[in-house]
């Protein structure tokens, strides 16, 4: 495994809440796709049924943290400063995917945008913009 690959796997394995939700990630070169398989316990609205909006927010925040772990070695886990989530479509009982784009990775602050989708990449179900306090290791 490549170094970013190792960092990604150890990061997701070490976070209890990522395991609680069942989040996985796939890395192709430097492009990472986070995967949230559908499970009954992530449902928020049982009538439709629809995935809980909080779970989608949590999934996108975890995607941003995972993408940061791929981008650079950190001396500690990045801390979330703020997130802004937009809900575009109901989360259907299907596998959800997410990709993060790091707009800037500075010495202290990282700006990250995330998009989550299900069947159709061009029809995202939710998006997130987040700010993170980072501590990249000095090489």
């Amino acid at each position: 495994m490549s170094e970013p690959d190792t960092r990604l796997v150890s990061m997701l394995d070490s976070i209890p809440y990522a395991r609680f939700l069942g989040i996985r990630a796939e890395l192709a070169g430097d492009e990472m796709t986070a995967v949230l398989p559908f499970a009954q316990h992530i449902v928020g609205n049982p009538m439709l049924p629809a995935i809980h909006g909080g779970v989608l927010g949590a999934f996108m925040e975890m995607t941003a943290l995972a993408q940061l772990s791929v981008a650079a070695p950190m001396t500690r886990q990045p801390r979330t400063i703020d997130v802004s989530i937009e809900y575009l479509r109901s989360g259907r009982p299907l596998t959800t995917y997410a990709r993060a784009s790091i707009k800037k990775l500075g010495r202290r602050i990282a700006n990250v945008h995330v998009e989550a989708w299900q069947e159709t990449r061009s029809a995202p179900i939710a998006t997130m913009r987040g700010l993170f306090l980072v501590a990249p290791s000095e090489d």
Partner: protein
């Protein structure tokens, strides 16, 4: 049935009937007059940083979203379906490991189609918040949708493939 009883029933249905709320163990401590106070109990499975034992930000996100939704219901006379349109969360400080996290949400404005909510998450004192949130909800979000609507195939046109599935 009084309004208070009705809103308490809605809150308990939202905690017990929502699988994710149940999995996280949400309970409603207070509800009424456009305000809801909810609690998530601390446990090791929902930790976000294994080095510190701090509860994951995502759990706080879900609690704030859920509490905000109950505050919207607590501001209306009759039940209607609602959906979160957007949610902005500022994380002030890590929650103290081992402590339960609470969220207090207030629906401060209701229009015919939109509800506006502010919420705060804390572990000991609401004046020393872990996180604050601002959310907007769409009212009557399931208009025209029947139970199980999300189980049917998507009506979204597949733009990239050019297929028409309507």
């Amino acid at each position: 049935m009084s309004d208070n009883e009705q809103i308490r029933l809605i809150a308990s249905a939202m905690n017990e009937g929502s699988p994710q709320a149940k999995a996280l163990g949400f309970t409603t401590l207070e509800i009424g007059d456009a305000v809801a106070v909810l609690k998530v109990p601390y446990r090791p499975e929902i930790v976000g940083d294994p080095e510190t034992g701090v509860i994951a930000g995502g759990v706080v996100t879900t609690l704030l979203d859920h509490a905000s939704g109950q505050a919207v219901h607590a501001s209306m006379d009759t039940w209607t379906s609602i959906a979160t349109l957007d949610l902005r969360i500022d994380y002030m400080r890590p929650a103290e490991p081992g402590l339960d996290v609470l969220a207090r949400a207030h629906c401060y404005k209701l229009t015919r189609s939109i509800a506006f909510v502010r919420a705060v998450a804390y572990d000991r004192d609401p004046e020393d918040p872990v996180a604050t949130a601002q959310a907007t909800f769409m009212l009557d979000s399931s208009a025209g949708k029947t139970p199980g609507a999300n189980l049917k195939p998507s009506r979204e046109p597949r733009a990239k493939t050019g297929s028409v599935d309507q």
